[in-house]
């Protein structure tokens, strides 16, 4: 009975289920390739990294330490964050469904089982497909290595498989944990007469009120912190990884306390010239408020891996591993941003219904949707270009990076964002056409 209902629920949320399965598929593929490559680096044996006292500092290790398990930890954390947001996107709109089940007498265990069956069904499809693709990719890499004249071959090692399966089990456990906590939280909140949206809607008035001196000082400090990595990159100074982390914190405040209030002021002043601009700017403000942390994580992670890539000489395989890390992070973080955004967009149909009531035409609604998505991804691309561009320029100027390397890394950072831009538009266009349900 519960199995049939779970299947029906999956059919009803088909597009979300496809996105969810796709993320698991990509995550499995990346992890499979990654663990086998990392194991091949050490001849299939576990590697010890912190070998001396002066390497114990994390940031020093990021810039000067060995490639391998350190980056693996990095990628695994990214996978977990990606799955967290993906799962949130998948189950958020099931809150009402779960509350009805609770009212009808279901226990929290029933709810968790109900969500779990859906997740397991999707995992059963996506994990084997991911492993198969991983096999194919390793074959392709071996072929490329052979073409480069390398005698090294990436083999499927037992050690890598054990690590891979252990991480995969953790990923599944993590998802189950998320589902259980969601079932408990959403049920309790809805039964108490609230709603999930209200729980999260604790946002301010975009900092438009008066600012005390402390706020101004903090804003100045935030601007300096946001510029610090650019300055360091430009001058080729050390401690790039830590300056990037500080930069992300600064950027977060610049976005929340300076950019968004400025956007509001601008929208009040001249945004009223055109309906599309007025509405899409308002939506963009909400999107950035909701997604800014994931955007800064993308920039920060890309630059940290880039710093590692050019910090010392690598063997071909090590170099390939860092490149795969960079690409994996670009893909996973772009997906994370997309799922974070789409979780918020899934509640946007009410807003589009209101727009229709006020007199906004269907054509204008489409324009608003495209304008919002374009501005959102252009803003992310602009930030990536400013930070990564400065780093690339610095590396190119010092002769550490070639034009082809810069082009490859730029494409790897930009392409996943462009693909998720298209996927977001497809999903969003379905949302704005959906009839409103009570």
């Amino acid at each position: 009975m519960i199995f049939k209902e779970a299947m029906r629920s999956l059919r009803n949320s088909r597009s979300k289920a496809i996105f969810f399965a796709l993320t698991f598929y990509i995550t499995t593929t990346l992890l499979f390739v990654y663990f086998n490559m990392a194991a091949a680096l050490t001849g299939g044996q576990p590697e010890v990294y912190i070998t001396s006292a002066n390497q114990a500092d994390l940031f020093q290790l990021l810039e000067k330490g060995n490639a391998g398990n350190l980056m693996m930890v990095f990628v695994v954390i990214m996978c977990f964050i990606d799955l967290l947001f993906c799962n949130d996107f998948f189950v958020k709109n099931k809150a009402k469904e779960l509350a009805v089940r609770l009212i009808c007498g279901a226990t929290y265990i029933h709810l968790a089982m109900y969500l779990l069956i859906q997740t397991v069904l999707l995992l059963v499809i996506s994990i084997p497909l991911g492993i198969l693709t991983g096999y194919g990719l390793i074959g392709l890499m071996n072929h490329l290595l052979a073409m480069q004249g390398e005698t090294f071959v990436i083999t499927i090692s037992t050690y890598a498989m054990v690590e891979f399966i252990a991480v995969l089990v953790f990923v599944v456990f993590w998802t189950i944990l998320l589902n259980c906590s969601f079932a408990y939280k959403s049920g309790a909140v809805l039964l108490a007469g609230g709603n999930m949206g209200a729980m999260k809607d604790n946002r301010g008035a975009y900092g438009m009120g008066s600012k005390p001196a402390v706020q101004i000082l903090l804003n100045v400090a935030a601007v300096v912190a946001a510029i610090l990595p650019l300055y360091n990159f430009f001058n080729g100074s050390g401690a790039l990884a830590i300056s990037m982390v500080i930069g992300s914190v600064g950027l977060n405040r610049v976005m929340g306390s300076l950019f968004l209030p400025l956007l509001t002021r601008q929208n009040h002043k001249s945004g009223t010239k055109k309906t599309v601009g007025l509405i899409s700017n308002g939506f963009l403000r909400r999107d950035m408020q909701f997604c800014k942390v994931t955007v800064f994580l993308l920039i920060c992670d890309l630059l940290v891996v880039m710093t590692m890539l050019f910090s010392r000489e690598y063997s071909t395989l090590e170099y390939l591993l860092v490149i795969v890390t960079y690409i994996s992070i670009a893909i996973l973080q772009s997906l994370t941003i997309m799922f974070r955004l789409e979780t918020d967009l899934s509640g946007r149909m009410q807003d589009y219904h209101i727009l229709s009531q006020v007199g906004v035409s269907e054509a204008e609604k489409n324009k608003i949707m495209h304008s919002e998505v374009s501005k959102f991804y252009l803003l992310i691309l602009a930030l990536v270009v400013i930070y990564a561009g400065t780093a690339f320029f610095s590396l190119y100027r010092s002769g550490q990076a070639s034009t082809s390397q810069i082009l490859l890394l730029s494409a790897a950072a930009i392409l996943p964002l462009l693909v998720t831009d298209v996927l977001t538009r497809i999903y969003y266009s379905q949302i704005i056409k959906e009839p409103l349900r009570d």
């Binding site: 009040h268 009223t272 007025l278 209101i354 906004v360 204008e364």
Partner: protein, 256 residues
């Protein structure tokens, strides 16, 4: 005849018309609304009130019959014309306020004016004027979730009035408000109707709220069952009459 702003002719709405489960929600609705009318619509749940308000506010099309607003037939308009017609002629106020929670109070009120392509300076002036009238001028930079229910409903009213529409359509406007805010809102409606001559069509369940109207129709089983006018009555007498009609409808249903 010249001052008729809205009239319906043999209005009929059938849901699932092509299936075996066809439900006639409205039939034979003929009504004229004159400029400056404050018309209330009452009736039990499922009587067809919401269907009626959706028909006259261009939100839905009738299965048969006609709706004329400002002399124009809604049936003959394209989707784009309907959109333009809404922001030029109609102002909507709903029970759940229907404000954009992602946008500031200023942006919410500005929306109908940007659709009408009014220049930003005029928009600013009009928003400042109306927000002062409605006592929400200090909230313009806030988002609706930071405001109380009464403040949100006043914002919805500001958005409905900012374009000087011919008709205000209000669907259970006091439904989400406490008694104090409900009273305040009805006094405001009464004032707008009396002093500005604003035409208002309002659906309500509440007999006391209905006693602020100048004319009231009762819909039962998809048709107009009774129509009363306040005329010389004071609000108490009018209220008693509304209660008596509402109760008689309930008694009839019990006996049946």
């Amino acid at each position: 005849m010249d001052d008729i702003v809205l009239y319906t002719k043999n209005l009929k709405k059938v849901y699932n018309a092509d299936s075996l489960n066809a439900v006639t929600a409205l039939h034979d609705i003929n009504i004229e609304v004159h400029k400056g009318d404050f018309l209330g619509v009452m009736g039990p749940s499922g009587s067809g009130k919401s269907t009626f308000i959706n028909m006259i506010s261009t939100m839905d099309y009738p299965t048969d019959g006609h709706v004329y607003i400002q002399g124009k037939s809604v049936m003959k308009m394209s989707a784009n014309e309907i959109g333009r017609f809404r922001y030029e002629n109609l102002g909507f106020i709903f029970q759940s306020f229907n404000l954009l929670d992602t946008h500031t109070i200023y942006e919410n009120i500005a929306l109908p004016l940007t659709l009408a392509k009014v220049d930003p300076k005029t928009i600013e002036d009009r928003i400042i004027t109306i927000s002062k009238q409605l006592n929400i001028d200090t909230l313009l930079n806030k988002v609706p979730l930071e405001c109380s229910g009464g403040q949100r409903q006043r914002t919805a009213i500001a958005r409905a009035l900012i374009n000087n529409p011919g008709i205000i359509v209000a669907d259970e406007p006091t439904g989400a408000l406490d008694s104090e805010n409900s009273e305040e809102l009805m006094v405001l409606f009464e004032k707008l109707n009396r002093e500005n001559g604003t035409t208002i069509v309002m659906v309500t369940h509440d007999s006391y709220v209905a006693s602020f109207t100048s004319r009231l129709i009762f819909i039962r089983d998809g048709a107009i069952s009774t129509e009363i006018r306040r005329e010389g009555m004071d609000q108490d007498e009018y209220f008693q009459k509304i209660v008596a009609i509402s109760s008689s409808g309930r008694s009839r249903r019990k006996r049946a």
